[in-house]
């Protein structure tokens, strides 16, 4: 069969932030120019700076810009872009948009609208994969009223999980442990789903206790090849938002990888899937695994797979969309080394992970061997309330899990972000946690068994004294600056001899 090649001469990226930058980089590495789009607040964003072209498309709210389907297609036409990459989030899993792109004669860098639609509808997805004998979690279907759902929850037995039919990324999802909490959880889940996806319909699943979230990366090309690139361990979550991901998983041996990998391929094939995708599963303590959903796009956490397989997933997506055969040809049963990703979010781990907004006033990146940073911001960038709170992704690789963890600890301790609250302290404490180090984690670990205030590393008396001294010097300095009581000439002979000098340097 002759290869059907689709020319891609310019790619419009219908997204923003780090994933837009990631795709620009992949396109650059392939020598393909890119078009960025931006909202009012993103004029100075990194994706606008790094793209070859940039077009302003509207206001800061997603509905005014990044979700405007017609505008995006029009911009592609106007700039001569012949392909659209949706990234993740926004329109990435919107089958209508994929269809419109294709109808406009453009290349959609992603799976077919049908595959998106089927996997995007949880009911249809369950039906599809069941045909290929993929195991499912016990639960009930969508479309029920609040009262029917309350009754169903009782019959399934608590704990249950409320999930949005149109869901993804933990939005519109609520675990409920007691009957009396069900109604409030249902209302907020529906509202969140309505606001995020324009669809408030939800369904219920049995909540598995002590289960891990393990997912398989799939690649499929238009020549009938479907392979998996091994698993990612994503059990470190909070409110169903992943915070840390690893590849491989300590819990998966070669035999389980082979079995689950084949299941993942079967799930993808059940909808004739082409391009990169992810089969998310829950795996219980006895290594029983259940299909959760398929994400029909590039995942946030794709870099950990890249680092242990050597495959550039964003480049493969473009290659596949061009109609070429994908680069890798075999299932990855023996990943090389170990990779860990920490999502660096503008969230305050000391205040219930409340999102934080503001301008980044200091950013010192960790660098050196085995460290990768995927970021869409720089010093001076503003984290606004309009988009998600991810600042960057910090990824480390090591020959072994322990090397990857040591490098992550080191990188976290080097990373300096100021101007807003962020979750680096969470990651530092997690990486010091005995359970995490031992790989004894499940999806409830962070919420139920981890606490920012009970450190595995108790501060020593010396450390506490140093903290007290630092706080006192800080306060002393602030008050002195305010009142100017000490003659500046006195400074030079003091222990602070360097301060004046360095502060002049940094003015």
């Amino acid at each position: 069969m002759a290869e059907q090649l689709t020319g891609i001469n310019k790619i419009l990226i219908a997204n923003r932030g780090e994933i837009a930058v990631r795709i620009i980089r992949a396109a650059r590495d392939l020598g393909i120019p890119t078009v960025a789009v931006y909202s009012d607040v993103d004029r100075a964003a990194l994706h606008v700076r790094y793209a070859d072209e940039a077009v302003h498309i509207g206001g800061p709210r997603p509905a005014e810009s990044y979700l405007k389907k017609d505008t995006l297609i029009e911009v592609a036409r106007k700039t001569g872009a012949d392909a659209i990459h949706p990234g993740y989030g926004f329109l990435a899993e919107n089958a209508d948009f994929a269809g419109q792109v294709i109808d406009a004669g453009l290349v959609w860098i992603g799976p077919s609208p049908d595959a998106i639609a089927t996997m995007g509808d949880k009911h249809a997805a369950r039906l599809a994969v069941t045909r290929n004998k993929v195991p499912l979690i016990p639960g009930i279907e969508a479309g029920l009223s609040n009262d029917e759902l309350a009754a169903a929850a009782k019959s399934i037995g608590f704990p249950v999980l409320i999930k949005a039919v149109a869901g993804g990324g933990g939005k519109g999802m609520r675990p409920v442990r007691r009957a009396e909490d069900f109604e409030t959880a249902l209302i907020t889940a529906r509202m969140e789903a309505e606001s995020a996806f324009g669809n408030g319909d939800v369904y219920l699943e049995k909540l598995l206790q002590g289960a891990r979230h393990i997912e398989f990366q799939i690649l499929a090309d238009s020549h009938g090849n479907t392979i998996h690139l091994g698993e990612r361990e994503c059990s470190i979550q909070r409110r169903h938002q992943k915070l840390v991901e690893e590849a491989p998983s300590v819990f998966v041996d070669t035999e389980l990888r082979q079995k689950m990998g084949e299941m993942a391929i079967a799930a993808a094939e059940s909808v004739g899937y082409v391009n990169a995708g992810t089969i998310e599963c829950l795996v219980d303590r006895d290594k029983n695994y259940y299909f959760l959903e398929m994400n029909t796009r590039l995942q946030v956490e794709h870099p950990v797979t890249e680092l242990v397989t050597g495959v550039d997933l964003a480049k493969e997506q473009i290659r596949i969309a061009r109609g070429r055969r994908m680069g890798p040809t075999e299932n990855v049963l023996h990943p090389k080394g170990w990779a860990i990703e920490c999502r660096i979010n503008a969230e305050d781990p000391y205040a219930d992970f409340m999102p934080s907004t503001g301008q980044i006033t200091t950013m010192i990146l960790p660098t050196g061997p085995g460290v990768r940073v995927d970021s869409g911001v720089y010093r001076g960038s503003e984290i606004t309330p309009y988009y998600d709170s991810m600042i960057s992704k910090l990824i480390t690789w090591g020959e072994t899990r322990s090397e990857a963890m040591l490098r992550m600890r080191r990188a976290l301790s080097e990373y300096r972000i100021m101007g807003l609250k962020h979750n680096i302290p969470f990651h530092i404490n997690l990486l010091n946690s005995i359970s995490f180090i031992a790989g004894q984690i499940d999806t409830n670990f962070v919420e139920q068994r981890f606490n920012m205030n009970t450190y595995e590393k108790t501060p020593t008396a010396t450390q506490l004294e140093t903290v007290a001294i630092a706080a006192t010097l800080y306060a002393h300095r602030e008050r002195r600056l305010a009142s100017q009581v000490v003659a500046p000439a006195k400074r030079d002979a003091s222990n602070w001899k360097w301060m004046g000098r360095f502060e002049r340097m940094h003015r």
Binding site: K171, T188, M191, E192, S195, A196, A346, D348, Y350, A351, D352, M354, P355, S356, T357, T362, P385, Y386, Y387, D388, S389, S413, R416, M418, I424, P425, H427, I428, N432, M452, Y455, K457, Q463, L464, E465, T466, V467, A468, I469, A470, A471, T472, L473, Y474, A475, H476, E478, R479, V486, K490, R491, A493, S494, N495, W496, W498, M499, F502, E503, H506
Partner: protein, 170 residues
């Protein structure tokens, strides 16, 4: 200048002389304290090289060091006197303010309602998330300043919680 600095239940007497010498509970300490720009400080003490991010957090000095957050209070002589007169350090505000700009989704309490510490009082939508804002204290709701669907800015007062009647020994 003499200070008393409190971390959790520990307190330190720290004296900073005009020539910059530092004494902790009367003992001299060798401390090189250097601002690296913004809230970032480098500290070299007894050869140990440490970094801290130090911020003034409504009168408390928050020190982030080695991935741990320490909330401290640094009291000078006047503040110590004042505090001794008042009879204690603890001041916890019953005010719930917006931690970021966003949209009020729901106010889950009513004026006069008794709440426990940690009870959700407001749901605020921001950054595509529904954030449950909780009461910092146990008490009674004394005022509600916002309605559902209202847009709020960072720092806006949302709900006030006063002491419970039975807790009126203050």
């Amino acid at each position: 200048m003499k200070y008393v600095t409190v971390i959790d239940d520990q307190s330190y007497e720290i004296e900073i002389d005009n020539d910059g010498a530092i004494l902790v509970n009367g003992e001299l300490r060798d401390v090189d304290f250097l601002n690296l720009g913004g809230s970032l400080y480098s500290i070299i003490t007894e050869n140990k090289s440490l970094e801290a991010v130090i911020d003034d957090d409504e009168g408390k000095i928050a020190v982030m060091m080695g991935g741990q957050l320490f909330e401290t209070q640094v009291l000078d002589e006047r503040a110590m006197l004042l505090m001794q007169r008042r009879g204690g350090l603890k001041i916890t505000s019953g005010e719930v303010t917006a931690p970021m700009p966003g949209l009020i989704v729901m106010v889950t309490v009513e004026v006069g309602q008794t709440v426990a510490q940690g009870d959700t009082v407001v749901i605020l939508e921001s950054m595509k998330m529904q954030n449950e804002l909780k009461s910092p204290v146990a008490g009674v709701v004394t005022a509600i300043h916002v309605d559902a669907s209202q847009a709020v800015d960072k720092g806006d007062m949302l709900v006030e919680i006063g002491p419970s009647p039975e807790d009126d020994r203050a």
